[in-house]
C-alpha cells in the first residue's frame, strides 16, 4: 500500500523551485541595491544588485539541478 519513496519525478517541483529562486534572487539583491541607492543617492547599485541577484540565482539553480 505505502511506498517508501515519492514516486513522482522531480519536474513539477523543479519548475516552481527555479521560479522561486530567480524571484528571490532579484528581490533580495535588487532590494539591497535599491536601498543603497536611496541611502547614498547613487544610481548604479540597483542595476548591479539585480545582476548579482540574477547571477547568484542562476548559480544556485546550477548547483541544485545542473551538476550531476
Amino acid at each position: 500500500m505505502s511506498s517508501n519513496e515519492p514516486k513522482r519525478p522531480s519536474e513539477d517541483n523543479a519548475f516552481w523551485t527555479i521560479f522561486g529562486y530567480m524571484l528571490s534572487g532579484l528581490l533580495i539583491w535588487g532590494g539591497i541595491g535599491w536601498g543603497l541607492d536611496q541611502w547614498l543617492n547613487t544610481g548604479f547599485f540597483l542595476l548591479s544588485g539585480l545582476l548579482l541577484g540574477m547571477g547568484s540565482a542562476l548559480y544556485l539553480v546550477w548547483l541544485r539541478f545542473g551538476r550531476k
Binding site: E11, A14, F15, I18, F19, Y21, M22, L23, L26, G30, W34, L46, L50, M54, A57, L58, V61, W62, F65, G66, R67, K68
Partner: protein
C-alpha cells in the same frame, strides 16, 4: 488626462512600462515553450536520456525565465 470635450475618449492613465513588459515577456514565453517541447520530444524518443537532458532543460528554462523576470522587475523600478 481628463475627458475631452465630447466625452468620447475616456481618460487613460498608467505607465507604458507595463506594455513594455508585456512585449518583453513574449520572447521568454516562446523560449520556454521551445525548451520544454524539445525536452519532452527527446525524453519521448529516448527515455533513458532523461537524466542527461533534465539539467540542460532546467538550466535553459532558468536562463529564459531570468529575462522575463528582469523585464518584470525593471517595469516596476524604472
Amino acid at each position: 488626462m481628463k475627458d475631452n470635450e465630447e466625452g468620447k475618449v475616456r481618460n487613460m492613465e498608467g505607465t507604458l512600462n507595463l506594455v513594455g513588459f508585456g512585449l518583453a515577456a513574449i520572447g521568454p514565453g516562446i523560449a520556454t515553450g521551445l525548451i520544454f517541447a524539445a525536452y519532452i520530444n527527446g525524453v519521448a524518443r529516448q527515455p533513458e536520456a532523461r537524466s542527461v537532458l533534465q539539467p540542460i532543460a532546467f538550466l535553459g528554462f532558468a536562463l529564459a525565465e531570468a529575462l522575463a523576470l528582469f523585464g518584470l522587475v525593471l517595469a516596476f523600478v524604472l
